[in-house]
């Protein structure tokens, strides 16, 4: 145990002092935020405008004069709101939002088929306020001096919610895949390096091969957790900064003056966006995701790292590792090929099977969890994964002992299978 601790400590200190580690740790949050926000930014920067159907008795008023960079207005002269709705729903092109006045409800209704962002919703509401309400007041509510209220109904709400679940699952799965692969390879590379520079001979005359292997695996796990912990703290810090700035910014406004504020203040817009973003996360099983992420991440890494360690022990140089690396990483990679399928149908038999199979479960289960997976199912999958890890470490240590001691001679697949017989 003491030897494992000494190797672990040395491995950890050696790696966290490397410039590449410091650089990657500092740049990681920036890079990942870029990866997250560049596509969003690019998608915002399109010329695609939103087509709004505006039911009005006055064709001039609802006409193209109000069309701008964001919206194209299509005047609808039909008086029957139901007919307009049916037509709007049937139309697949150039029909994103329908705006009409409900005489019965005495309010303006906005039906959103596209799923506008919060900013777009508020822009549209303001625009409607400007161009539409006077006419409505004049036509239907001459006795009232104030504009009627507006109700926004998103028909695409369910889709948006599913997107968030899919994104969360994919995000967790990508992170797990990346860390397992990157740090697993580090374990293998570390062992091959020490074989190449001959330190292994000095090490093995002092340390049990198993202790050395475990020290290396756990040392690199500690490095990995340090990096990940730092990133998490950075994200939490950024999140708390946003929350501090925008979280309660809107509570001081009531429904009337908030619109006025949103019209003039960019900060208020951002606050609105943040509140919607933060609120959408409340719908996720965050606690379950967090705990499962940590467990699957750690067990997945340990399982793959011990396999990678065995590969490192069997080969004498990095080029030789290729023939063994592919078969090991194939299941993890294959899970990604199935990721689209898993997030589109998280409860299918295939998805369930992949989330139980230990070589695929760290990624597959994380893809399923945001959609809601029962705790006993998660515990079952973790149990399978943990048991496989124990078995793998036992097997890997035998392969490791044999492989690493086969000094100057790389092991073949045949040697690998003869391990049990000879040990």
């Amino acid at each position: 145990m003491n030897q494992i601790w000494i190797v672990l400590k040395q491995e950890y200190l050696n790696r966290i002092r490397k410039r590449s580690f410091i650089l990657m740790t500092l740049l990681g949050p920036i890079l990942s935020l870029c990866v997250l926000f560049i596509p969003i930014y690019l998608s915002l920067d399109t010329n695609e405008r939103i087509h709004v159907w505006l039911q009005s008795s006055d064709p001039k008023q609802a006409g193209g004069n109000y069309t701008d960079q964001a919206f194209i207005f299509h005047p609808i002269e039909k008086a029957n709101a139901k007919e307009v709705q049916v037509e709007f729903m049937q139309q697949t092109r150039n029909a994103d939002v329908l705006v009409y006045y409900s005489i019965a409800q005495k309010r303006i209704l906005l039906l959103d088929k596209k799923g506008l962002s919060t900013a777009e919703q508020w822009k549209l509401k303001n625009k409607i306020q400007d161009i539409y309400t006077k006419d409505i007041v004049a036509t239907y509510l001459p006795e009232r001096a104030v504009a009627p209220s507006m109700q926004y109904l998103s028909l695409a709400e369910e889709k948006q919610y599913a997107d968030l679940l899919q994104l969360t699952g994919l995000f967790c799965a990508v992170i797990i895949y990346f860390f397992i692969f990157y740090y697993g390879v580090q374990v293998m590379k570390g062992i091959v390096d020490e074989k190449v520079n001959r330190v292994v001979e000095v090490i093995l005359c002092s340390v049990k091969p198993f202790n050395w292997m475990m020290g290396k695996i756990l040392g690199i796990a500690a490095v990995c957790l340090t990096q990940f912990g730092f990133w998490t703290m950075v994200y939490i810090w950024i999140g708390s900064k946003f929350n501090h700035r925008y979280g309660n910014a809107l509570t001081q406004f009531n429904e009337e003056n908030i619109q006025e504020t949103l019209r003039v203040s960019k900060d208020a817009w951002q606050a609105m966006e943040w509140n919607v973003f933060a609120k959408s996360f409340e719908t996720l099983p965050l606690m379950q995701i967090g705990i499962c992420f940590f467990i699957f991440f750690l067990l997945g890494y340990l399982l793959y790292a011990s396999l990678f360690a065995a590969v490192g022990a069997m080969t004498d140089n990095e080029t030789d590792t290729q023939q063994f690396t592919f078969p090991i990483t194939a299941p993890l990679f294959a899970t990604f090929l199935f990721s689209g399928f898993i997030i589109s149908d998280p409860d299918s038999q295939m998805s369930i099977l992949l989330s139980y199979f230990p070589l695929t479960s760290p990624v597959a289960m994380m893809l399923r969890i945001p959609f809601g997976v029962s705790n006993w199912e998660v515990i079952g999958s973790i149990t399978v994964l943990a048991s496989t890890f124990v078995l793998t470490v036992y097997m890997a240590s035998r392969v490791f002992k044999r492989g690493v001691l086969q000094y100057g001679k790389a092991m073949s697949w045949k040697d690998l299978f003869s391990v049990e017989k000879n040990d």
């Binding site: 000494i6 520079n197 005359c205 002092s206």
Partner: protein, 301 residues
């Protein structure tokens, strides 16, 4: 004196190649065993078997009377032939690391490594990164890493390779000093001069088998052919000249002879003095170099 190491009929093969074939060895505590043999004879494999870097196919190895086990690793120090240290790590840091792996506490490891750096007069290098040091300095660090934990059994594979004569002498002195403080030492070498000076036991391996084993002076005695080494001026008596094995001109009138003679020493000297001048006359025991070459050549024929 009790036995520290016993090797019984050990065999090790790598694929089709038999690196060690039925080797046996017994080593008393506080002795120095010199392991000789041409390249590829199996010396390094034998040392790796003792240090548990490779495991034997058959045969047994005992350390202090117990079958060799994992915990014995920390009681041994090993200097491999192909040196291996962390190139990017600082000198003292890696010495402390190796010492801790071999059972010293962090404090002891720090103290011992500092003492050894001072002892080999390289304490000013303790904070340097290894790859910035010269080859000789790196060799010294490697030597310290093998002895820093004060092992009972020190195994040195070609300890003098890479050292200039002055530094080789320093290392030789340190080996003797470790021996005096109670350590048992096994070392393999090609340097016959050090073997004769340093070793209390010798073992020669050729083609994976032990071909010679024993105390150096007894081995030399075993190979004694009764030759006499003579430096002489004048004409050799006829009954002596028939036994010339080798002769070499030393100066204009002095010749060095290696003689094989059945004549008793006293009579021989009388004969020689009567006919010329005897500058030197001594019993000639074969050097380890000669024995080594003889055996290797014999096996090659």
């Amino acid at each position: 004196m009790s036995e520290i190491l016993r090797v019984e009929h050990v065999t090790k093969t790598f694929g089709a190649y038999r690196a060690i074939d039925d080797v046996s060895l017994s080593l008393k505590k506080n002795s120095i065993l010199g392991l000789l043999g041409p390249n590829g004879a199996g010396k390094t494999t034998l040392l790796r078997l003792i240090t548990q870097i490779v495991l034997p196919d058959s045969g047994k190895i005992f350390f202090n009377g117990e079958p060799l086990k994992e915990t014995h690793r920390t009681k041994m120090g090993y200097l491999p032939e192909e040196r291996g240290l962390y190139r990017k790590m600082r000198v003292q840091e890696q010495l402390i690391y190796f010492a801790q792996l071999r059972g010293l506490s962090a404090k002891e490891a720090k103290q011992q490594s500092a003492d050894w750096l001072k002892r080999l007069e390289i304490d000013h290098l303790s904070n340097q990164v290894l790859e910035t040091l010269s080859k000789g300095q790196q060799q010294k660090i490697q030597f310290i890493s093998a002895v820093v934990h004060q092992p009972e059994l020190l195994i040195l594979d070609e300890p003098f390779s890479g050292f200039d004569p002055a530094n080789a002498e320093i290392i030789k002195k340190e080996i003797l000093s470790l021996h005096q403080s109670g350590a048992t030492i096994i070392y393999s070498t090609h340097r016959m001069d050090t073997v004769e000076d340093v070793c209390t036991e010798l073992m020669m391996i050729n083609k994976s088998k032990v071909v010679l084993q024993g105390e150096p002076h007894l081995i030399r005695k075993q190979f004694d052919q009764g030759y006499v080494r003579l430096i002489y001026s004048g004409r050799l008596p006829e009954q002596v000249s028939t036994g010339i094995v080798e002769q070499k001109m030393l100066t204009d009138n002095k010749i060095v002879y290696l003689l094989s003679s059945s004549i008793a020493t006293k009579e021989l000297l009388t004969l020689l003095i009567a006919q010329g001048t005897v500058h030197s006359f001594e019993e000639h025991l074969p050097s380890m170099q000669e024995i080594f070459l003889n055996i290797v050549n014999e096996h090659m024929l």
